[in-house]
């Protein structure tokens, strides 16, 4: 049943959503470069935006805009605008997160001289070693 053409095409938006989501999450987890992590986070969030926007679509529905004279024909089918509105908010949150993440990366680069996760961990480990030595002394 899962290999039927209709099933696959009928759930196309979900396949794309899952693919993008996994791509994004994989980048966040696997990449050591902090900027790449932020890029992965963005892809991850974008997949959720796509998911929300696609669930607002009503089959055969048109754009949810009422005519100017508010003379509404009840037989016209409209798509659901609510998920779109929700996702506008989520996009704003996403931009704020990206901006803050990038700002932190700038500060990290100033302080550590690198934006690679592994190198930062090495520097931090050195610092920890110095601290324990000063504790013993």
């Amino acid at each position: 049943m899962i290999f039927e053409h209709n099933f696959i095409m009928g759930h196309l938006n979900y396949w794309l959503f899952i693919m993008l989501m996994m791509t994004g999450l994989f980048i966040v987890i696997s990449r050591g470069n902090l900027i790449k992590k932020i890029v992965g986070l963005n892809i991850f969030q974008t997949s959720v935006f796509m998911f929300y926007i696609s669930i607002g679509k009503v089959a055969g529905g048109t754009a949810p805009i009422f005519p100017m004279d508010m003379n509404i024909n009840p037989s016209i089918l409209y798509s659901n605008p609510l998920p779109h509105v929700l996702i506008l908010t989520a996009i704003v949150v996403g931009i704020a997160t990206t901006a803050l993440g990038l700002a932190l990366i700038v500060r990290i680069r100033e302080a550590y001289g690198t934006i690679e996760d592994e190198e930062i961990s090495l520097i931090e480990a050195d610092e920890q070693k110095l601290e324990t030595q000063s504790q013993l002394a």
Binding site: V48, Y52, T89, G101, L104, I120, E127, E131
Partner: protein, 499 residues
């Protein structure tokens, strides 16, 4: 006056939100502190009056913009969230009282106003998460508080550059958690077509076997688990708590994770039905074992920490284990214990972090050897650390005892006395790490280079407010246990009795 009173639910969130930009415009350290303090105190006053008006178990529904739910966004106040509103705004007020002197030492002068702005925004977010009755609104406020929290944590960079990396890690994990949460909300919306919590509750009734609903609950549990530092998803927490400025650590430890836990409880009981088979299984086979592992493993890790701040952070993760254990019993008694624990642990941890912050005010480092012998030099502050420590362990006569006692009772009533034994055993581990600090404080010679340090009354007063409340709520349990009992019963039976 009557009119203003009716708008208290929205003012609770609106006042700190509107004061935040004013803080930026003013641009002076002292003045913005005053504004922040004003915002925090008015939140506290509103929260207390809201708690008072719902103390009989009723609830208040506020329709934003006059649009009735489920179309419009609804704010709901019942005894569960009013209780936590008081905790969050109360802790915020007490922390602010002491924040000024500490911040002068820990943060550059030019960043002070922005610090207070973020603090107000964080407070706004936390209060908003608590009060809202709309599932998407929860996400928005959660992100308001989280984004400002990341900034606040990064402010520790003046003392230790590792704060930046800690804030970055927190940002990545927090955002992943929040996005998981949004996916969950999207699935609920797909299944029910509404965002109002109580509307969902009614519509979700016959959707127990729906895979969409199950997936949505899974996403929400994982998302909130990341935010509240549920055991294997706690990795951001020790770093963030250790390197953040002490003021921020004090505030966050007492509020941020508690609010996320509240969201998890609210979703389990007021959005989904806790008697759904899959929810029972999630708690029985996932949350409860993880909570027990957290209680032991994290207390054990805490014993070997040299840095007291990090030790207390690990102890927080263990304490979250107790709270999750209370919820996972899925009984009214367990829920009561969790609510009492939320409140008492908030006060206890705030006392510990604040007194630690004062003890290490001038050295800026919080290693065990830095507090060596301070018991004689700073007796009042060490005493308040001692009180906080006793309360954390759960010695009778302190607030911590009440919450542990209720939890033990709840486990026995749920018919699993083995859990009671585990709670007591893991408390013994808490004695070990707290004792290590006490030993350094009272039974070791001070470093000779430490001159006697003067601490002003502005710091001592808030510290002792917290320490005394640690003791006070160990004796007078009418507020904590009484309110928690009503809150738990309402959630458990899902009684929404509107005024």
């Amino acid at each position: 006056m009557e009119q203003v009173y009716l708008h208290f639910p929205i003012l609770q969130v609106l006042i700190p939100l509107l004061l935040a930009p004013i803080c930026v415009l003013v641009g002076r350290s002292t003045f913005s502190w005053l504004i922040t303090f004003f915002g925090s105190v008015s939140s506290l006053v509103i929260a207390i009056s809201l708690l008072h008006s719902v103390s009989d178990g009723s609830s208040i529904s506020y329709h934003i913009g006059g649009w009735p739910p489920p179309i419009g966004i609804e704010y709901v106040v019942d005894s569960a969230n009013a209780f936590l509103l008081v905790l969050v705004s109360g802790i915020s007020t007490v922390v602010l009282l002491y924040a000024r002197d500490q911040i002068k030492l820990e943060i550059d002068e030019e960043n002070h106003t922005l610090f207070y702005t973020c603090y107000l925004l964080c407070l706004t977010g936390l209060l908003g998460v608590l009060i809202t009755g709309d599932v998407f609104n929860v996400f928005v406020f959660l992100e308001i508080s989280s984004l400002s929290t990341y900034v606040l944590v990064a402010q520790g960079a003046k003392r230790d550059k590792r704060a930046l990396k800690a804030a970055f890690n927190y940002l990545i994990m927090g955002t992943v958690g929040a996005t998981f949460f949004v996916i969950g909300v999207g699935f609920i919306y797909m299944a029910t077509g509404t965002l109002n919590m109580f509307d969902i509750y009614e519509r979700i009734n016959d959707l127990e076997s729906s895979r969409t609903v199950r997936a949505s609950y899974a996403f929400i549990v994982i998302g909130m688990g990341l935010k509240l530092a549920m055991f294997p998803m706690h990795l951001w927490m020790p770093g963030a708590y250790t390197y953040a400025p002490t003021v921020v650590t004090t505030f966050l430890s007492a509020t941020a994770t508690k609010v996320s836990l509240y969201v998890l409880i609210r979703f389990t009981f007021s959005v989904f039905h806790f008697d759904f088979n899959f929810i029972e299984q999630v708690f029985k086979f996932l949350v409860m074992p993880l909570a027990i592992i957290a209680m032991f493993a994290m207390s054990f890790v805490a014993i070997f920490q040299k840095d007291i701040k990090r030790m207390l952070a690990y102890s927080s993760i263990a304490q979250i284990g107790y709270m999750l254990l209370g919820v996972s019993l899925l009984s009214s008694e367990g829920l009561t214990a969790t609510f009492v624990n939320l409140f008492n642990h908030g006060i206890t941890k705030a006392t510990l972090f604040m007194s630690l912050g004062v003890l290490t005010l001038y050295s800026g480092k919080s290693f065990l050897s830095d507090v060596q012998g301070l018991g004689k030099k700073m007796p009042w502050i060490s005493a308040s650390f001692l009180i906080g420590g006793l309360s954390l362990v759960g010695i009778p006569g302190t607030a911590g005892f009440i919450s542990k006692w209720l939890l033990v009772q709840a486990t026995i009533e749920a018919g699993v006395p083995i859990l009671a034994l585990l709670i007591i055993l893991s408390s013994l581990l808490a004695i070990v790490y707290i004792w290590k600090v006490i030993e350094h404080l009272y039974f070791m010679e001070p470093h000779s280079e430490l001159a006697s340090q003067k601490v002003s009354f502005r710091i001592l007063i808030p510290l002792w407010i917290l320490s005394i409340s640690c003791l006070y709520w160990g004796f007078d349990t009418s507020l904590t246990v009484g309110t928690s009992d009503i809150a738990a019963n309402n959630l458990f039976n899902n009684v929404i009795k509107l005024n």
